[in-house]
Point group: C2
Amino acid sequence: MKIGVIGGGQLGRMLALAGTPLGMDFAFLDPAPDACAAALGKHLRADYGDQEHLRQLADQVDLVTFEFESVPAETVAFLSQFVPVYPSAEALRIARDRLFEKSMFRDLGIPTPAFADILSQADLDAAVASIGLPAVLKTRTLGYDGKGQKVLRTPEDVVGTFAELGSVPCLLEGFVPFTGEVSLVAVRARDGETRFYPLVHNTHESGILRLSVASEGHPLQSLAEDYVGRVLKQLDYVGVMAFEFFEVDGGLKANEIAPRVHNSGHWTIEGAECSQFENHLRAVAGLPLGSTAKVGQSAMLNFIGEVPAVEQVVAIDDCHLHHYGKAFKAGRKVGHATLRSNDMATLKARIAEVEALISN
Amino acid sequence: MKIGVIGGGQLGRMLALAGTPLGMDFAFLDPAPDACAAALGKHLRADYGDQEHLRQLADQVDLVTFEFESVPAETVAFLSQFVPVYPSAEALRIARDRLFEKSMFRDLGIPTPAFADILSQADLDAAVASIGLPAVLKTRTLGYDGKGQKVLRTPEDVVGTFAELGSVPCLLEGFVPFTGEVSLVAVRARDGETRFYPLVHNTHESGILRLSVASEGHPLQSLAEDYVGRVLKQLDYVGVMAFEFFEVDGGLKANEIAPRVHNSGHWTIEGAECSQFENHLRAVAGLPLGSTAKVGQSAMLNFIGEVPAVEQVVAIDDCHLHHYGKAFKAGRKVGHATLRSNDMATLKARIAEVEALISN
């Protein structure tokens, strides 16, 4: 089976590493000359709206999937004429726009922070008066890793902020006094079968995920599965989806969904019986889903800006390096390490060892 | 780091799958137009003796390794002028010739079946008189998967057999009444550090490996490690080596070594903390070795001739498919499945499920 992937970054690379043993071949459409997935498949170097190359891709593959959600709607619609596309155009339409996303959560009875649609500075002023400060103004589309957003703490922060974010449609979200951030990675098959990985505790710095630790018997697991299940069913979703939540007062408030394999699920490569990458491919290819059970205790640490010396990373016991083969650049995710241990105490000691390497 | 591999079959393919996350790039030299490792790296399509392409390979990579042992000595010698080559020319010289191999075992005090060098039918007749029947006549070089050998049971089997195997140098080996076949996969680093995976029980059919089951606390583990350690040290070996033994009377008799990653170590991809493929690359690249500890109970079943329907293989719980992307052909290894379970009873049930697929 030949899989087309829109985007050729590290997620595409890890999809190919998972899918090749299933007998799959890969083709990536990505405008970047140095797309790091290209080492593992065919690289069609073209813009995401380039219909000639999209058509070429469609002609070469059995289905198309995505490694990021900001794909133009026209691209999805165009591809869908020629080849099955998973997840669906509708799932991408919702996930790429924070207003649609939050509105869907609300309609499905999933708690969210207070939010308001912002199309002008006047909208922003009115929403701040209603929701209060602190609050976070986010562009409705194209934000990631903390980009395209601004925390508003004082009335002075509000002045001129709509223009500062580019005078594009935004969402204002009430600030949530969360005690933790967790994510649930789920996979849904074409026939509707759904499986969930254990909830993951995430730690961000400057808006970028730093550390994910897979939980064991988390008290909010079944609540999170209920919420995510509602969204998956609503969208008749096919593939892996990650759902980020804030932990607030012993409950959950929905932050956002990612309609794709997700950074907070990278630990599943070594830490779960079947990884999120393999399960995404199984789902979109119409194959039976794999086990989402944990194998021991696991954590993932991102390497941001640079990967520490390989010999130092792999010298740490039970440490699995994932080097993305990308040029190093401040703020860029260029690799990660998975730790897998038989018990949590050992895992914590190993996390400290990797953290010591990162801070050096 | 860029790794050159002589041979582009499934072993090269799995090396690339293991090495890509370490930030390694791969180039394969293989004359086959459809070399299945080529999906994961650069393919230099040339004969193994083609010095122009060998030189090209050497110029592009930081080191060269092998996925099979029948590489011409001249190829190794030629490459070694330009680039580090692991394992060494000496290790390959010994391993590719059954006489050199068995003689080394004897010199190191490692028990072997009785054996004799056979350069003519007269040699064979004399050796049969001395060693007795049954016995096995094997070509000294180029044998694999039961090819290039003949079991001699009666005096009639001996007549004309030297010519039947091509009148090439052979080894006669006394038949060993073994109770089981086990292999030990080991890895030795450039600095001499050595690690061993657990002993593996192997079942062959028609000379081809069918099933490998990783053992737990095998009573012969330390004896096997002692024997394999002697060989690794003698050869100043760098990389993964597999050592096949016969279990005889509660002890071990050496069958043969493979100076490379080995089919009986494929279970380590899911079943050990660090796979044989990653450990081979770590060793040849001068990196610290990874843990050879088992993660639960594991087994590997080969798919020979054809891979069963993918949807049936992955429908088996905890079953990991490794499809080599090769054309199906009777007697050809075209894939395998790894099973990983938390207990041996579950593992055995899963093995039966995969076996049922194979026999269908």
